[in-house]
Symmetry: C2
Subunit: 370 residues, 2 copies
């Protein structure tokens, strides 16, 4: 039974998302041995497709951002952290696909590592990260003990939840629904979201949405936009905590004028929220509005890769906007951060609420009504 | 306590054997998670030396010979097995050091895989193997459950044995002793070994020995020669089984004339011995005479990397001779095999015996008397 689910999961990654073909070189990465059941199955499938796996398990210090770990970050000198590996560059040049199966043994492994070191390494490795994002890339997460604990769930239940969010989804149906949602949002000028403590508007004028339906992030299911930067007006209270690098901020409330955060508060860890907002000029603006569309993902599990996909939620990201969302000739909002926080519009999970496009209600309490 | 031993082990690998320096790129390889305690320590030490680890844990299918595993060999097509990875070639080009920490979860993992597939892959990957051997290379083995079981020992005792064979050795003293042994063998023309069922002579004329004292294989401790190919006369009975790719042959007896095996027998699995001898023309000749010199390695553990180092033993290899052992202008014996088998000259572990150089006894029952 579990084996069948693992095979199903692997097929979504290898055949649907990465579309692995004969002769492909596949960079296959994972950061713990807990993910080995899926790693092994994916690897075998890659081999069976006539392709070549290039395996990187647990450690991959020279990769850059994704290869960060405690021993490397705490023991390496500034010079070492700044170094961009020529071997890694050449290896990536030969790759067709980058696939990473997330899930560490301890999701707090980098807590307490000096943030300057992390930033330094990220910056140095930017070139390698860009090389990866120019490949057919696929990211996923395996239901480890650590992620289950993080979700306040028993591992077996979390396992079932994760497998269901990948294997039980009718991906063709999800893609079709995403397209419908994208169409009505693409045509709209103004989006308004109204809920408990929330009344916010923004413009999507000349914006096209991106349908995320199982090509890069698995599980998938969202349609996302870069709203017109200076258009946000009003205030929003998020349902779920904002979590960034192990820091949790509960009860985030933001108020906007001309697109910029002019006031904010939080129930816990407000200071961290302040620091993030003050990262740079761009971090005070919204880079993304996303609409979650995966109905198998029905609860908050404290892992943004899942939470932002919950059908019946929206999320907004402070900071950097994605290039793909911008009309030609317009620059996306730039920032060192991109921090997604989720608002649940369902009832009773959230406070209920409405999404209103140009004055017309299209979603009520998490259910589409268009 | 164990931690100290692990650190000591890592130091022998990183500082003594590989001489890792600032800026070095180190290819760091291991084939199971059981070896992680040592792998982690070695890796941290490499980072602390200002060098760059390039980690390859468990799987490394594109490496070639060392990267063989069950799923890869059984699922890959002939075309895939023949393919030499450009990414791997380029990665190896950038390396300064190759280090491998052996010890799989199951040492019989490749039993039953079609030998043709293994040969095909070895042949295809020859180029990559040669690239590795042109780096500063270091091979070692970690005391896994599987190797302990293989040695018919409890894991804790095997652990103690392995750590002792690396950490408790006075490497300077071993090097000094190796040089003395090398000197007297270098000067000798004829080596004769006499023991129960054994009276064999061979010529070392114009041959120089290689002192293996902790630069490549850890644990180390031997002096080895390529005897003059056609010079072997007489017969030898080996004490310990010959083991090759999971096949064990007990009670191997060989008889030589003009260097060539003209008769042979075995107590078990004689057929496998016959097959190996018939591999090619070179497999009927002796490529190596080695003299074990590590006194911490005091017992047979069914793993040639240890057994051939036992102080008080000699070993001979059927097949390929090493380039390093040959005088200029002479070609080493060539063969697809190099199969070391050990004779114990100690008492009571073996039958006792003598090593005689040009008529003078230099070792008696495993103890040097020169």
């Amino acid at each position: 039974m579990v084996e069948e689910r693992v095979t199903g999961f692997a097929k979504v990654l290898v055949d649907k998302a990465a579309e692995v073909e004969e002769g492909d070189n596949v960079y296959l990465s994972a950061y713990s041995t807990e993910v080995l059941p899926l790693f092994d199955e994916v690897r075998k499938m890659i081999i069976k497709r006539g392709a070549y796996p290039h395996e990187h398990l647990i450690y991959d210090s020279q990769l850059g951002r994704a290869g960060m770990d405690y021993d490397w970050l705490t023991n390496a000198s500034e010079e070492q952290l700044k170094n961009v590996s020529e071997a890694k560059r050449k290896e990536l040049e030969e790759m067709d696909v980058y696939m990473s199966i997330g899930g560490r043994e301890n999701e707090r492994e980098l807590n307490g590592v000096a943030p300057e070191k992390i930033s330094l390494r990220k910056k140095a490795a930017k070139e390698l990260s860009e090389m990866r994002s120019n490949l057919r890339w696929v990211l996923t997460r395996y239901p480890t003990d650590s992620l289950a604990q993080n979700a306040d769930m028993p591992t077996k239940e979390f396992e079932e939840f994760v497998f269901s969010s990948v294997v039980d989804v009718d991906w063709e149906e999800l893609e079709r629904r995403n397209q419908e949602i994208k169409e009505i949002f693409d045509q709209a000028d103004e989006v308004r979201i109204v809920s408990e403590g929330t009344d916010i508007t923004m413009s999507l004028k000349d914006r096209e949405g991106v349908s995320a339906d199982g090509n890069h992030n698995i599980p998938d299911g969202e349609v996302f936009y870069a709203p017109v930067r200076d258009s946000l007006e009003g205030h929003i209270e998020f349902t779920y905590p904002g979590v960034k690098q192990g820091n949790e901020v509960r009860g985030v409330r933001l108020e906007f004028e001309n697109g910029k955060v002019i006031d904010f508060s939080a129930e816990t860890n407000e200071e961290y929220l302040r620091e993030q907002l003050e990262t740079d000029e761009g971090s005070k603006y919204i880079g993304e509005l996303g609409i979650g569309t995966n109905r198998q993902i029905d609860r908050f599990v404290n892992e943004i890769g899942f939470d932002e996909k919950i059908g019946g939620t929206i999320h907004m990201a402070l900071g950097k906007a994605f290039e793909d969302c911008m009309p030609e000739g317009e620059e996306p909002n730039d920032s060192a951060i991109h921090w997604d926080i989720v608002k649940d519009l369902r009832r009773p999970q959230g406070d209920g609420g409405k999404i209103i496009l140009d004055g017309e209600v299209v979603q009520k309490d998490g259910e589409w009504v268009f």
